[in-house]
């Protein structure tokens, strides 16, 4: 279970999050929506431990462990996964090698056995089914020369391989055509059924047609100003954010 308590975050001395609280339980899907610049991406990066963000107050706990005391790699080994809005290219490193190193890096902490290349191949085949990805991608360099949609699918494949406790999806739907969107949504649904808690950052209702969040939060001005069920997302689709933001702290 993820608990964020009264979180304050600054970048280069500028406050971005100003007292944000949130609870995400195992198997729940939460959507974070909100206008541009409201701090949505910041929230996912701070939970994942990006070094550029300074936490000036509050707590982030994962199953009771204080994440703020851990570096990004240790948080990942505890089961935090971030699907990047802009996945990074690592030329010369094959996707398969990367996935296996990553899997083995988290394996010990998660109580899994390390897998040798052959064992990993079998495991990978099983996980590939979730994202409908061409196995040829495994031989290519990590994200190098991938299209936008391929990069996003690759993020979901990594998530499927690492079976996180908590998945943070930062605008995973942006730049996807409708087929890719369906596949990505299918992957997210399958994993949330595997009892992963999901925190989904999105601009649009579109993804929510395929992934049904139990909880929708509106983030504006560095705080959650409204929380509700799936009906809130539909209302936002019709009315935009202004009716909420004007009433709240802009």
């Amino acid at each position: 279970m993820l608990e964020v308590r009264d979180l304050h975050v600054s970048v280069d001395g500028v406050p971005i999050l100003k007292g944000l609280s949130l609870v995400v339980r195992r198997g729940e899907v939460h959507a974070i929506m909100g206008p541009n610049g409201s701090g949505k991406s910041t929230l996912t990066k701070v939970i994942a431990g990006h070094p550029a963000y300074e936490v000036t107050g509050g707590e982030i706990l994962l199953d009771g462990a204080n994440l703020l005391e851990e570096e990004a790699d240790a948080r990942a080994r505890l089961g935090v996964f971030l699907a990047f809005q802009y996945p990074v290219e690592i030329p010369g490193v094959s996707n398969k090698t990367f996935l296996r190193q990553s899997y083995n890096a988290v394996a010990e902490a998660r109580g899994w056995d390390e897998l040798d290349p052959l064992e990993f191949e079998d495991y990978l085949e099983d996980r590939l089914g979730l994202v409908d990805m061409d196995p040829a991608f495994l031989e290519r360099s990590v994200n190098a020369g991938f299209s936008g949609g391929e990069k996003k699918r690759n993020e979901i494949l990594q998530m499927a391989v690492l079976r996180p406790q908590l998945a943070l999806l930062d605008e995973t739907d942006s730049g996807l055509d409708i087929d890719a969107l369906r596949t990505v949504a299918g992957g997210i649904n399958a994993l949330s059924n595997e009892a992963t808690g999901v925190l989904l950052v999105t601009h649009y209702q579109r993804l929510l047609d395929y992934v049904k969040p139990g909880f929708v939060h509106v983030l504006a001005g560095g705080r959650i100003i409204r929380s509700g069920g799936p009906e809130l997302a539909e209302e936002l689709e019709v009315r935009g954010y202004s009716w909420l933001v004007e009433g709240g702290e802009a």
Binding site: A72, D73, P87, I90, G92, A105, L162
Partner: protein, 478 residues
């Protein structure tokens, strides 16, 4: 974050120890007498002494070149020791008689000279200061007609071969340091693979400078007759001294018709300390001649050491349809300076060359690629592809690319690509986020960057090279 990366590449040099061994050294200084002494000590024939003296007299007329993108005080050639040999207790009959302290030194370096402990299928010639101390697997090679021995031994046993090829690719008039080497070279390796023979194992020379203020001037000559193949690797280390030592080697390769030579280098000379004190000046001339039809010469180098590297392994593509290749990784840190690259001289018809250069700069180092592709009027249908990539770690280092392209034949196709990138915080965060710690993340990024070069190395050495970069990158993550 970039401080963490920097901390990882600031690893202490592992090979900086000195072996306390009695050596037979000349006092410092250079004159015709020095050369006569070296030649006499090696019991050389008169023609070779004559050649050395001609080279010396020519050298006296030359000026030290200044065009390279490196800065250093001019070496004082009178303060260098030109001959230092570990004192043998007696003439060696077999490896068992090599001084145990020397064997220990090589063990420490990870180069066991006992044949039964060797890497499977690699023969080694070990050069300690100026002299070859041991060559392994000689007998097995001899059965195949392959000659692999120290240069001094070749002068004694195979003078006709040495005389035919010495200076045929790098004449003593070639450049300042080649002239100096020709005058004072003390040893090195000699390889001869006769017609149609595929050398049954990898050949390797391991160079070690031990004595303080010694210059190491070795000379390597590799000749492959028609249809012969050989793969050769050299490795280098030196102890840590706070003064600079000069290493001015010459390597000549000759490939006749359909012959193939693959020459790989893993250079890890002492690079000096973090303030730039000490370290090797590595001023080396390496050149191969693809003399015959469809011959092929391939250079692969992993350059991680030396205070200054000045080195351009080159190919003269004389035979029609001959092929030249150059694959290079140069890593510089602290105040290291590297100016390295290649020359591909296309003379024959339908000759092809490939250049892949990967420069990694960290600390306050300067890393330059300098390469010449020349297509002569006679080289109809010649092709070249060059790719030069630079990676920067931190913001106080420099990467430079100096490509020279001279095309004198309208049918030639020459391509050049270049890129510069930075080991970014975002790349590291991405890998961290997948559970991989920073140390492994940096090593993964750098090995990925170098992959096109590492895959050209012989299997065992690709692992070594990966480890070597790992050593330079491993360590104290906070």
């Amino acid at each position: 974050m970039s401080e963490q990366i920097q901390a990882m590449i600031d690893q202490p040099y592992k090979y900086g120890f000195v072996t306390d061994i009695e050596s037979d050294t000349l006092p410092p200084g250079l004159s015709e007498d020095t050369i006569r002494f070296i030649s006499a000590r090696k019991e050389e024939p008169a023609w070779l002494l004559e050649w050395r003296l001609k080279a010396y007299r020519h050298w006296l007329t030359l000026e030290e070149p200044t065009w390279a993108n490196v800065a250093y005080p001019r070496p004082d050639f009178q303060s260098i020791i030109y001959y230092a040999a570990p004192k043998p207790k007696k003439q060696l009959q077999s490896l068992d008689e090599v001084d145990p302290q020397l064997l220990e030194t090589y063990e420490k370096l990870g180069i066991p000279l006992h044949e039964q402990k060797m890497l499977a299928n690699v023969a080694v010639d070990a050069v300690f200061d100026s002299v070859s101390v041991a060559t392994t697997f000689k007998k097995k090679l001899k059965e195949h007609g392959v000659i692999f021995c120290s240069f001094s031994e070749a002068v004694k046993e195979h003078p006709e071969l040495v005389r035919a090829y010495l200076g045929s690719v790098v004449p003593y008039t070639d450049n300042y340091y080649a002239a100096l080497n020709s005058a004072v070279f003390s040893d090195g390796s000699f390889v001869f693979v006769p017609k149609g023979v595929r050398c049954p194992m990898e050949l390797s020379t391991y160079f070690r400078i031990n004595t303080k203020d010694t210059g190491q001037f070795e000379r390597t000559l590799i000749v492959c007759e028609d249809g012969a193949h050989v793969s050769y690797l050299e490795g280098c280390t030196a102890p840590q001294f706070d003064t600079n030592q000069l290493h001015a080697a010459v390597v000549e390769l000759v490939a006749l018709e359909r012959a193939e030579i693959k020459y790989s280098t893993v250079q890890n000379w002492y690079a000096g300390d973090a303030e730039g004190r000490g370290g090797i000046y590595n001023f080396v001339t390496k050149r191969g001649k693809c003399a015959g039809f469809r011959s092929k010469i391939s250079w692969t180098q992993v350059e991680t050491g030396s205070a200054i590297t000045w080195k351009y392994p080159s190919c003269i593509l004389q035979g029609d349809e001959s092929v030249g290749e150059f694959y290079s990784v140069a890593l510089t840190n602290n105040l290291q300076q590297a100016d390295t690259g290649t020359k591909m001289i296309h003379l024959g018809k339908n000759t092809r060359s490939t250049i892949v250069s990967k420069g990694i700069s960290a600390g306050r180092s300067q890393n330059s690629y300098r390469g010449l592709v020349r297509i002569a009027p006679s080289a109809d249908g010649a092709r070249n592809y060059s790719q030069c990539d630079s990676m920067l770690i931190g913001d106080r280092c420099g990467a430079h690319t100096f490509p020279y392209i001279e095309v004198q034949n309208p049918t030639a196709v020459v391509e050049h690509e270049a890129s510069t990138s930075r080991v970014g915080e975002e790349q590291i965060f991405y890998l961290n986020q997948r559970g991989i710690d920073t140390e492994n993340a940096v090593s993964m990024i750098i090995n990925g960057f170098c992959r096109d070069v590492f895959r050209e190395l012989p299997m065992e050495f690709a692992v070594e090279a990966t480890k070597l970069l790992g050593i330079k990158l491993e360590g104290s993550v906070g």
